[in-house]
């Protein structure tokens, strides 16, 4: 049995022949009777296995010496004599069935992972400690408002916060909602984790009546009660992780590609969230017997200003559904009590003065 022997002390390579007895392996040079080394069988180990290493080296425990038997037939013979050396000549694995099995497993796992991100967050996110969500929301709010003026009219803020909390309670929401009003534009409002709502004063001043502000507020409360902000963060993180794991985390090119894909999925999630918030907002107003036509009239007003409808033009790149679709979905009769009293509405209109 021929092999290459490295003594572990120098980089000398020696062609040797092997002789195995019941308890030791004798290593000697061909045509020489002198034994170069004696390895007790009990102390012999295989470094690696033949599924990964082309030729797994044999070593003596506690030593740097190596024996390499290139011939697979001789390796098999060695294993038949010393079964403990089995990794030296494992049964060759058929590549095609393994490739097929792993590919199927990957497809199934991606499906599972995707479902966990898509549906699991629905149940897992509400379990996140609320204090963490609030801390995250406050930190983001501080940064967003850093260079902006906020409106401090007490009566106006009290009015909008009163309605926000009434609507949240109507939905069975347990935490207190806080509304901040930023001076100026754009005509917009958004929700942060930790039940934090931000309104821009232009939205209030350009609203035709109080029902429009109430409608937008109810829509934002829809985001709050469905935990949309934190669900959005969790899903974005989950999708990002999926891309990283799938691409082996090895390529910056693919991370860029993944970020693009992730952004698209986030937009899709955003559209679903908006539809849900629209429906919930209208429902909450109706449940309290308040006018619920404000959202649709607000959208109609927006559409009159910008008939091209950016959300529709952007298609899959838009975080919001097309405005016409939202108008149809939220259209309600102009019946019900006003959401704000006349005094509250007046105070809210003057909140920045």
């Amino acid at each position: 049995m021929a092999a290459r022997y490295y003594d572990g002390v120098t980089a000398d390579v020696q062609e040797v022949t092997l002789k195995i007895t019941s308890h030791e392996l004798l290593i000697h040079r061909p045509a020489e009777s002198d034994v170069l080394a004696r390895w007790p069988v009990a102390d012999m180990v295989v470094l690696g296995d033949s599924h990964h290493e082309a030729v797994p080296p044999l070593a003596l425990r506690g030593s740097d010496a190596r024996l390499v038997v290139e011939d697979p037939v001789w390796r098999s013979q060695l294993v038949s004599l010393v079964p403990a050396l089995k990794p030296l000549a494992l049964e060759p694995l058929k590549v095609a069935p393994r490739l097929g099995a792993y590919s199927l497993a990957i497809v199934a796992l991606v499906g599972l992972f995707w479902s966990a991100v898509e549906y699991g967050t629905e149940y897992a996110v509400p379990l996140l400690p609320y204090t963490l969500q609030a801390k995250l929301g406050e930190t983001v709010l501080d940064e967003l408002l850093a260079d902006k003026e906020t409106c401090q009219g007490r009566a106006g803020l009290a009015a909008i916060n009163r309605l926000a909390n009434d609507l949240a309670k109507e939905a069975g929401y347990k935490h207190e909602v806080t509304v901040h009003i930023v001076e100026g534009g754009p005509v917009n409002a958004f929700t942060l984790p930790g039940s934090i709502l931000v309104f821009y004063s232009d939205l209030i001043t350009q609203a035709k009546d109080s029902s429009q502000v109430a409608g937008v507020l109810a829509h934002e409360i829809g985001h709050v009660v469905h935990d949309h902000p934190i669900k959005g963060v969790a899903r974005a993180y989950g999708i990002d992780l999926l891309f990283k794991v799938l691409t082996g985390g090895y390529s910056d090119i693919l991370s860029t590609f993944g970020t693009g894909g992730g952004a698209l999925l986030a937009m899709r999630n955003g559209r679903a969230f908006e539809r849900e918030a629209d429906a919930t907002g209208v429902r909450l107003l109706e449940q309290r017997g308040l006018r619920a036509d404000g959202v649709s009239t607000f959208f109609e007003q927006m559409l009159q200003k910008e008939p091209s409808d950016a959300a529709s033009a952007a298609g899959i790149w838009s975080s919001h559904p097309p405005t016409r679709e939202r108008i149809e979905a939220t259209k309600r009769p102009a019946t019900g009590r006003p959401a704000f009293s006349a005094a509250e509405w007046q105070a809210l209109r003057n909140v920045c003065k």
Binding site: R4, Y6, D7, G8, V9, T10, A11, D12, V13, L47, G48, H52, E53, A54, V55, P56, P57, D64, A65, R66, V68, L93, V95, A96, R98, L99, Y102, S103, A105, I106, L109, V110, F113, T139, V140, D142, E143, L144, A146, D147, L241, K244, V245, L246, T247, G248, G249, Y250, S251, D252, I253, L254, S255, F257, S308, A310, A313, A314, W317
Partner: protein, 396 residues
Amino acid sequence: MQAAGPTLAGTSSPTSAPGTPWSADLTPSRPVYDGRLGEIYAIYLRHLALMLVTLGWSRFWGRTRIRRYVWNHLSVLGDRFEYRGRGIELMIGFVLALLVVAAWSGLMYLVWLYVLHEKPFASFGLFDLFSLSVVLIGFPLAYVGHYAGLRYKLSRTRWRGIRCGMAGSAWGYGATATFLHFANAMTAYLLTPVVSVNLARPRIVNTRVGTQGFAFAGRAGDIYGRYLGYYFLNILAWVAAAVATFMAVGGTLETLGVSSDDFLKLFAHPSLHTVVVLLLVAFGAYLLFGLLILPLRCWWQAYLLRYLVTHSRAGNVLFATAISTWQMWGFLVLNYLIVLLTLGIGWPWVMHRTMKLIAGQLWIYGAPQGSEIRQPADRGPGYGEGLLDLFDVSGI
């Protein structure tokens, strides 16, 4: 293996310390790579499946398995390499690097609390402070990670049972690399040969196979002429491509009946749709330019690699390569496209191609005196690659 290799710089008058016996035997050989693509894929796909199950935490073990396969299927002078790294060592390295970042985050939080008093400066808040500071420390740490990662890989590599290794300071290398890259950027990349040679030198001369060190006789001055040629040709190529594109776009617009005024209006009041289309066109043009102009870059990169290899030696063993511009294009551009177009699944194929390229293009002249190379006392770092994992995109 006996074969006629490429012309070897310096073989006619080898440089040795006085008194060093010179081995006249410069028999050429090449490394042999006998890995099979299907087998690598089987290991890689198993690794991907486990990554999905463990949310990426199995990557340390997956990477180790792939290295074991690749290393042991490569042999030099008939002796295969061994990879003896362990997944747990990579994981410890990663966790330690995470702790460094956590400590840094803590420090930034203290700055936020006691220096900025929790008040954002303009719109520069806690997140910006953290992100910017991580980017700032990330640049030098990525270079430190490169060196430390190489040291780890070498310390877990054996040839003829002898451990390889790497001397020198990773922090020193990180400082040098940061300074040189900064200086290069400040001088419109005219210092590239200085950067290439001075960063290759520590990596080459500090590499060890047992007690056998490597030597590097390269000088930036040798390659400046070629670099300046590449530098100015590159500028010319970009200008020519830009003019050609401008003319092509102008011509197309006219044939479509769009006047220059109409075109300008599009820019004055761009819709989101226009912006997206423009971004896509710009990306397409960038890719097209890149593919046209990259051969020029490959011409320079192939030259640089040939220079670095032929000016390196290990004792009496000399190295050479005749890698061509076309082969470098396959290595840099085609591999990039394979990974991109297969969404990463082509990575093992790229690795396989790279190993075959090394085996086909690296020529080794002579053989070391095995008895003179001894096992080193140093066992290398106890863990590895954490910084590389965090601050850099590391391959296998």
